[in-house]
């Protein structure tokens, strides 16, 4: 396959440098691609997609009565991350997660950070995912964010920025593991040559994390379950995948019952006590007695048991307060406040529309900025200025004027690109990177992550609901210096 026609078009490319020469860490991969016959890569790609369908690695499309299932499009060309860069990302993520956890614990207890006026109290009180019901709760080990999927992007300046923290119910890790599986089948030789760090360890680490947060009485042999909204949820594949890999029961709300101050599941032998629940259900649906009363998916009384410390929940309800994009803009201050250090990973500069000065700037520059709703995700409620129409900008100007607290704006980042198979050749497509971080007794960062790719030419939106796909992420092991390689 010929690569000579590939153009970086002035974007930062993860595989080629500015002179269109292969970056050192990508050479082996490119050699392997070049040695393939014409059409071979396309054939591998199609084989991979058939395999995904057969293995039932699909997501459900909402609002489709025929129950359509689609595969999450997968591209064979991986993103490669150098060992030194990964070390730096890992340190940055650990620092950030630690600070965010301190912040959440503080917000639901003394609120020192508000009293010290580092963050305006009003910002928290108006945050959509702030849960006053969680005030005073002490989750085991004071950990609130057990599983996080931080979104990172690289701008044309070559720097990596944190775009979102995704503390609530992050998904996608199953694709990291499945993509790797597919890649091993497709490029075994490259794998062996490059020393790609394994990701298979994730389910064991996740189980360890969940067991570590069990209520004290159950620490010996805790019963851990995964709570799913059910098989029609778009992420159901991931729920069953993780339950299977951890060997724990996959339960629905109707399988659980609160009785005698504890939570139990209905089994063929009667009720069995449950100690830890990895819930893949938003706060709102967890417990109709505490949150949304119309929820049929949750377990009535669950939060009371949780508050009493008789069952542990991961993630802890209420941690979404830090997912608010206005709160996000204060994370660098949080890190300085709680960690006494400068942030290792940068935030994207953010304009807060409730500040008069910021708002004026945003309204005057709608065609250059990306405007986001403070509390939406999945690529919804968003305006990409340079790609927008006058009517769309008008619509957002009205919305911003009406509820300025709900909108933030950021410069339009030129996300880095990775060569991606388009028909029979490679073209650059924009990507982001979502690493997964676990926090039980200590913080663990999975060496890898989900590289999401915007498959539409020129598009900057990588979400699966908006035409996004995924790639494998190869984190390289540090160079071996006479010693044994890291496991």
């Amino acid at each position: 396959m010929q690569l000579s026609s590939y153009q970086t078009q002035g974007f930062y490319d993860e595989v080629f440098d500015a002179q269109c020469k292969a970056r050192p860490e990508a050479r082996l991969l490119l050699e392997a691609i070049e040695s393939l016959q014409d059409g071979e890569l396309l054939r591998c790609q199609q084989a991979a997609e058939t395999l995904l369908l057969q293995m039932g690695i699909t997501f459900n499309v909402y609002g489709d009565s025929a129950g359509t299932e689609r595969i999450f499009p997968f591209d064979l060309i991986p993103r490669i991350v150098r060992a030194e860069e990964w070390n730096w990302i890992e340190r940055g993520l650990k620092q950030r997660i630690h600070a965010l956890n301190e912040f959440i614990d503080d917000i639901y207890h003394d609120q020192r950070i508000l009293k010290d006026k580092v963050i305006p109290e009003e910002v928290i009180r108006s945050a959509a995912f702030y849960r006053p019901q969680c005030r005073g709760i002490n989750p085991p080990g004071r950990v609130w964010c057990h599983i996080t999927g931080t979104d990172l992007v690289r701008h044309s300046d070559g720097q990596i920025y944190v775009l979102e923290d995704n503390l609530r119910v992050p998904s996608g890790v199953s694709y990291v593991l499945e993509n790797r599986d597919l890649m091993k089948r497709t490029f075994p030789r490259v794998f062996a040559g490059l020393q790609v760090r394994p990701v298979d360890i994730y389910p064991s680490k996740l189980l360890e994390t969940l067991q570590a947060i069990a209520p004290p009485r159950a620490l010996d042999n805790p019963c851990v379950v995964l709570l799913t909204p059910g098989m029609y949820n778009s992420a159901y594949f991931e729920h069953s995948f993780l339950a299977q890999r951890m060997g724990i029961p996959l339960v629905e709300g109707r399988d659980l019952v609160v009785q005698d101050g504890g939570v139990s599941m209905r089994t063929t032998k009667g009720l069995r006590r449950v100690d830890v629940i990895y819930r893949r259900l938003d706060d709102d649906f967890l417990d109709p007695q505490t949150f949304r009363p119309d929820s049929l998916l949750g377990v009535p009384g669950l939060v009371d048991v949780y508050r009493a410390g008789r069952v542990s929940l991961a993630n802890a309800p209420g941690n979404g307060v830090a997912d608010d994009k206005v709160v996000y803009s204060y994370v660098p201050e949080m890190i300085r406040y709680y960690e006494g250090a400068d942030p290792i990973l940068s935030n994207v500069p953010t304009f807060l529309c409730w500040r008069d000065q910021d708002r004026q700037h945003v309204l005057q520059n709608l065609d250059k900025l990306v405007v986001k709703s403070a509390n939406e995700s999945g690529g919804y409620g968003m305006l990409v200025g340079p790609h927008s129409t006058a009517a769309q900008r008008e619509e957002f100007a009205t919305k911003i004027a009406a509820t300025p607290r709900n909108y933030i704006a950021q410069p339009t980042l030129a996300l880095s690109r990775v060569p991606t198979l388009v028909e029979d050749h490679l073209e650059g497509r924009h990507v982001d990177l979502r690493p997964y971080i676990l926090y039980g007794r200590e913080i663990f960062v999975l060496p890898g992550g989900l590289t999401r790719v915007a498959l539409r030419p020129g598009s900057l939106v990588v979400n699966s609901s908006q035409g996004g796909g995924s790639k494998d992420t190869w984190v390289l092991a540090p160079a071996i210096e006479g010693g044994k390689n890291e496991q």
Binding site: L53, Q54, M55, G56, G67, N221, C223, V224, V225, M231, Y236, S240, F241, A243, Q244, G247, I248, P249, L250, V251, E252, R254, D255, M265, R266, T267, T268, K269, R272, R273
Partner: protein, 332 residues
């Protein structure tokens, strides 16, 4: 050893049980159609009503009359293979089996899930075959895929509680289907029962045996084809895997493995309904069945098997809304 996390959810037990039943059901419907097609080639001058018994076997005669009227060949095949409104059509059975499998993917092995999934996807993409002269190939594929599923199940899944529920479902469904095909064929053959031994009769009874893959095994054991020996073989044989007695023996073993009750004693209502039936088949002479009337006997047998199913629901599956009904009827 009882590890708390190895406990089986009631909902999951229900789902594996029905997954197995639906696959077994799809396989049996494929068998019934196939054997009739075969028969048609041997007896091309048979009257058209030859296809009615197939509808009676499936237990959906009323629904069929409502939707299709007279039992013409094409109508019957279409109704049994892919009619969206017939919950027991092959395509719907496979869909329901897959939906149930999907809800217990963490309990069954990946290989099992992939087999159910690809069986479903293949059948969906091959529907056109069913309307062509490659129908028999289509039916053969269903049968082979179902066998492969069983092989994969027994070879890749621990023979744990969930597996016992799976086997329980498979065996009860199989016993039910064997009783139905025997009942219907016998009923149809009644007019000719007094001319036993004619070539006509021989071909029909051979067809019954072939529909349960029992022709060769029957020959080895009984030789000459007589209605009495066939009833003996399909109802009371201890070793033939589709004989009702054999199926219920397996089902009973699974049920006791689930409950932990020693064989020969009963604690749960489901055990109380299964054990006497199994014991009866161990001792009843075939002459008693014949003198009582085969149809009457099989009718009562089916009713008793339905009671077992009801009791299983009460004993283990809880009163949660039943997935199989929703799956089979409600998805379209």
């Amino acid at each position: 050893m009882s590890n708390e996390s190895s406990a089986l959810l009631s909902r999951a037990a229900d789902a594996v049980y029905w997954m197995a039943r639906y696959i077994e059901r799809a396989e049996n419907v494929a068998r019934f159609i196939d054997v009739n097609l075969h028969l048609q080639l041997d007896l091309p001058l048979e009257p058209a009503h030859q296809w009615q018994p197939l509808i009676d076997t499936s237990g959906d005669a009323e629904l069929f009359r409502e939707r299709r009227g007279a039992a013409e060949k094409e109508q019957v095949i279409d109704f049994l293979v892919c009619d969206a409104h017939n919950p027991n059509a092959i395509c719907n059975c496979l869909r329901a089996a897959r939906e149930n499998a999907r809800s217990v993917r963490e309990i069954i092995s990946s290989e099992m899930w992939e087999q159910v999934n690809s069986m479903y996807l293949k059948t969906e993409s091959q529907r056109a075959l069913a309307e062509s002269d490659r129908l028999r190939e289509f039916l053969r594929n269903i049968r082979l895929d179902a066998h492969m599923f069983q092989g994969i199940t027994d070879a890749t899944m621990s023979h744990n509680e969930a597996w016992q529920f799976l086997r329980l479902g498979r065996q009860l469904e199989r016993a039910d289907k064997t009783s139905r095909i025997l009942d219907v064929k016998y009923f149809m053959l009644l007019p000719s029962a007094h001319v036993v031994g004619t070539p006509y009769d021989d071909i029909h009874w051979s067809a019954v045996l072939k529909s349960v893959s029992g022709f060769e095994m029957y020959r080895k054991k009984h030789g000459r084809i007589t209605p009495r020996s066939i009833v003996d073989f399909l109802v009371l044989d201890r070793e033939f895997p589709r004989a009702i007695r054999h199926c219920l023996r397996m089902a009973d073993e699974s049920l006791h493995a689930i409950t932990g009750t020693p064989m020969g004693s009963c604690e749960y209502p489901s055990e109380r309904s299964l054990a006497p039936l199994r014991a009866e088949l161990d001792y009843i002479p075939v002459e008693r069945i014949m003198s009582q009337g085969l149809h009457e006997y099989l009718d009562a047998l089916q009713a008793r098997m339905n009671t077992i199913d009801d009791n299983l629901r009460l004993d283990f599956f809880g009163s949660a809304p039943l997935t199989p009904l929703v799956m089979a009827g409600g998805v379209l």
